[in-house]
């Protein structure tokens, strides 16, 4: 399809397990964002890529969280040694334009991965 896709859609992990969440952005989109959305809250910024460069990772909550986008297309968010507080929906968004500037851009969101840590 033409939209942002994420996999898996649902993931149940035992506490302490590592997980990897995948995002396929819209082809040609320069920017890629990861967000964490807890129940009843808005999306919370985790990290931002411009092509393969991770320009902002200020939102990653701990060093257990790691994201990469090695070829400037598909991105993976990895969470090591998952904890119960990591349970949330993880959203990926991509954009043709770049963030942080005055040029207009629009983020296109994927369906999210719902992570439940038991």
């Amino acid at each position: 399809g033409a939209g942002v896709s994420q996999s898996p859609r649902y993931k149940v992990a035992k506490r302490g397990q590592d997980v990897a969440l995948r995002c396929d952005p819209i082809s040609g989109h320069v920017s890629l964002f990861w967000y964490q959305q807890a129940l009843g809250q808005g999306p919370e910024f985790l990290t931002y890529f411009q092509n393969e460069a991770q320009l902002d990772k200020s939102g990653l909550p701990s060093d257990r969280f790691f994201a990469e986008r090695p070829e400037g297309s598909v991105s993976t968010l990895k969470i090591q040694r998952t904890q119960q507080e990591d349970s949330a929906v993880y959203l990926c968004a991509s954009s043709f334009g770049t963030s942080g500037g005055r040029s207009s851009y629009e983020q296109y969101f994927g369906p999210g991965t719902r992570l439940t840590v038991t």
Binding site: Y48, S99, S104, F109
Partner: protein, 115 residues
Amino acid sequence: AQSVSQHNHHVILSEAASLELGCNYSYGGTVNLFWYVQYPGQHLQLLLKYFSGDPLVKGIKGFEAEFIKSKFSFNLRKPSVQWSDTAEYFCAVNAIGTGGFKTIFGAGTRLFVKA
């Protein structure tokens, strides 16, 4: 730190009623402003955006928002809601020139429109 505040978490309206959802942000510099909507079972999608120019912005489905810089506000309005407007609405801010690239979202407002 930048933050976005949405005043109402839940709003219930009858069809044809007027809608105004409040959004305030805390950042003294230049901002890009957004409203996103999530319809039941669907992805977040852009409703409208403000980058510069006319502070009254028109979006899809008859929605509009007004940027009032002096009040740090970007309220969403629609003169007459429809049942199909039932959704969750998120205000978001991207602060320019901070050296970061994050977009900050509010907690969202759930709108339920009674037919």
